[in-house]
């Protein structure tokens, strides 16, 4: 086995032609997922996270960039050949109602994944039962119809179907957001278990930051098609450097009334249109700290010593020493050479906690 990461997508660009021009849903995104690692991909609706997840599977063909599975470039592999490796990357969808064929029994739905792998029919029943048991269902669900199951049970079937293919990578797009709160926690625990017991790598796409914190080893935050911050989950939650990440974290309602009234950095305005995104840093029109450079120059994704990365000209809590020690992704664009280094002058803002200077309470 090579040293290459399980999955690496580089400089992915995904464009769609729309009436008013080109919608760039994903803009030069590079992301790796190691074996057994869960990567959380977060952002608000329209940020491109679901598009990126589908591109990784080549459910959508990328406009530009490469997708490599264990070092093997699969970007141009023909669909027929792709089918032979697709069982290694399986997807769980958001909607437990829309993603199961209502006219097929649970056993047949899960069994399809085995056909993909060429498992003989005679062995399928045992493996289907094993997959169902793995997700907390059982033999008595084999002959049931999707409509007989609750939302949580259907989502378990969705996971079982993915597992039956014996994948190395599970791509889960908002797998719990359609479920009731008490059922969400059950699914979250199941996904954590799968990572632990089967060493399954996951790309977990979600808008709910508290759920992502529970399951992910690393997270990447997207805004208007770009990754603006990434890093080990603990680093990003404890020391978010990008003002967008901080605003996103501050906006999550906390189930503790004693923390009500805490000052929060409210985010201004709404997501601009991805068809005509703002120049420079996409976030600058909504950012409390934007300066002239932010309006003209796209910030590079700087790598800091603690493993965190942030694409911001004025990151939080970054000292001059941090900047000196920072490195940078090899940008495809030669213009990258002329980019400015992050400005350490906002370093002291980190002490201000949730109320950085200039923020709107």
């Amino acid at each position: 086995m090579s040293d290459a990461p399980l999955m690496k997508v580089e400089h992915i660009r995904q464009e769609f032609a729309v009436k008013d021009g080109t919608l760039r849903a994903v803009d030069d995104v590079t992301l790796t997922i190691d074996r057994g690692e869960t990567v959380g991909l977060v952002g608000e609706s329209g940020c491109g996270k679901s598009t990126l997840a589908r591109t990784v599977l080549r459910l959508i063909e990328p406009t530009q960039g490469t997708i490599a599975l264990e070092g093997r470039d699969i970007t141009k592999v023909p669909q027929r050949e792709l089918r032979a490796i697709r069982h290694r990357m399986q997807m769980v969808f958001q909607d437990p109602y829309g993603s199961l064929n209502p006219r097929r029994r649970i056993g047949a739905i899960v069994g399809d994944a085995l056909d993909l792998r060429g498992v003989p029919k005679s062995e399928q029943r045992t493996q289907v039962i094993a997959a169902l048991e793995r997700v907390g269902l059982g033999i008595d669900h084999l002959h049931r119809w999707p409509h007989e199951l609750s939302g949580g049970q259907r989502q378990r079937v969705g996971v079982a179907r993915a597992l039956a293919a014996s994948p190395d990578l599970l791509i889960a797009d908002e797998p719990v957001s359609a479920l009731d709160v008490s059922v969400q926690a059950q699914l979250v625990n199941l996904l954590v278990d799968l990572q632990r017991d089967l060493g399954l790598a996951q790309l977990f796409v979600a808008h709910d930051l508290s759920v992502v914190r529970q399951v992910a080893d690393r997270i990447a935050v997207m805004y208007l098609g770009r990754i603006v911050e990434s890093g080990p989950t603990d680093v990003v939650f404890a020391r978010a450097r990008h003002p967008y990440t901080r605003a996103l974290l501050a906006a999550v309602p906390i189930a503790d009334p004693s923390r009500r009234g805490r000052q929060r950095e409210a985010i201004r305005g709404e997501l601009p249109s991805p068809i005509d995104p703002p120049p420079g840093c996409h976030f600058h029109p909504r950012c409390p700290h934007a300066t002239d450079v932010c309006m003209t120059e796209q910030p590079a994704l700087w790598h800091y010593a603690d493993g965190g990365r942030a694409a911001c000209h004025h990151p939080y809590g970054v000292s001059a020493a941090d900047v000196a020690a920072a490195s940078r992704d090899d940008l495809a664009s030669p213009a990258a050479a002329g980019m400015s280094a992050p400005d350490p002058s906002t370093a002291d803002l980190a002490d201000a906690g949730e109320t950085p200077a200039g923020a709107q309470a």
């Binding site: 926690a185 309602p253 189930a255």
Partner: protein, 366 residues
């Protein structure tokens, strides 16, 4: 835990005497081929002027049916609505449809979860809002338009004078929800019923909309009944909370009190199953086994007993919604004695109790 501090809602100087909504023994049963479906049973709620009451529950808990019933929106052939629901002394259950029409949109307004399907896609939003003003108040077109623009400005829609002529599809989800709120508020209602008003929105937009609702409550002394499944939203906004399960209220308390000292095992589970955003990460989230029951197949007795790890013989009977001595205003529907509850809760999930945990533990050991 000793007497909770009663919340003093802003804009209501003499809250105790200012009862706006009084619901008692409310029941709603829908007809079905298999007999009546009891969606709501024996609901008792009060709401004072300027207060935010959160009604929390999962699908099928009866929270939305309760809200819709107040506006007469569950009326229909064969629907049995029983009990009392009085708004400022007006009987909402017995009121005729035309009486209700005069109240609805004028004194009680509603905001729904999905702003896209609640707006008419082929009519300009200004037209839809102005229609409401003209239906309730005998004002001219020009006056209605001016008030519509004012209302849109008040809820934070930029360039309201231009946007008033836009169609719903020209707005983002968050802006559409602002339009819905402007429409709800344009006649100056005393009560706003908001059913999952932010569920379809992103968190940053959700925070803006909740802040907006709270600001309007403060400025106008309006009461809010917030129907939601999200305990985070509840903790950020509510003065009073009612937790519903299987059509019944299972716990009711001032907001601080509910999170600090939840009494019903279902509340423990709900609070416990939220992944924390800060602090230590639990290895596993505490969960409630099973799924919320369908109103078609509720167990006899306590509605939660099928999923409750603390079930015992007495649960075959429905427990009363009872107040515990020493905690006025904190009611729950569970047979376990209060001391037993505290012991079991500590065993069920150490994280529940939040910041008041130390205090609660001290009292337990005393």
């Amino acid at each position: 835990m000793t007497a909770p501090t009663a919340p003093t809602p802003a804009g209501a100087p003499d809250a105790a005497s200012d009862l706006l909504l009084d619901i008692d023994g409310l029941g709603v049963a829908f007809p079905s081929e298999r007999g009546p479906i009891h969606a709501v049973r024996d609901v008792r709620l009060t709401l004072r002027r300027g207060e935010v009451l959160a009604v929390v529950g999962e699908s099928g808990s009866g929270k939305s049916v309760t809200a819709l019933t107040l506006l007469g929106l569950t009326r229909g052939r064969g629907t049995a609505i029983t009990g009392k629901a009085e708004f400022d002394g007006i009987d909402l259950i017995g009121a005729s449809d035309s009486q209700l029409r005069r109240i609805r949109g004028k004194r009680i307004a509603m905001v729904f979860q999905d702003p896209m399907s609640s707006l008419n896609p082929v009519l300009r939003i200004g037209h839809q809002i102005a229609e409401q003003i003209r239906a309730h108040e005998g004002v001219g077109k020009a006056e209605a338009r001016k008030r519509t623009i004012d209302a849109l400005t008040e809820v934070g829609i930029p360039r309201a004078a231009e946007r008033v002529d836009a169609y719903p599809h020209e707005f983002s989800g968050g802006m559409r929800q602002r339009v819905m709120i402007a429409m709800a508020l344009v006649c100056g209602p005393e009560l706003l019923i908001a059913d999952e008003p932010t569920t379809a929105l992103d968190v940053t937009v959700q925070a803006q909309i909740l802040d907006l609702i709270l600001r309007l409550r403060d400025e106008r002394g309006m009461s809010v009944m917030l129907v939601t499944h999200d305990l985070g939203v509840v903790a950020e906004t509510a003065d009073q909370v009612a937790v519903m399960y299987g059509g019944r209220i299972v716990e009711q308390a001032p907001c601080d009190e509910l999170f600090a000292d939840p009494r019903h095992p279902y509340s423990w589970g709900l609070i416990g199953s939220i992944p924390p955003l800060t602090g230590a990460k639990p290895e596993y989230l505490p969960t409630i086994a099973g799924t919320p029951p369908s109103p078609l197949a509720l167990p006899a007795g306590c509605p939660f007993r099928a999923r409750c790890p603390h079930e015992f013989e007495q649960c075959a009977e429905v427990p009363p919604l009872a107040e515990t001595a020493g905690a006025p205003g904190h009611l729950d529907r569970c047979w376990l004695p209060i001391d037993e509850k505290r012991i079991r809760r500590a065993g069920a999930d150490g994280r529940i109790g939040l910041l008041h945990d130390a205090e609660a533990t001290t009292e337990e050991s005393a």
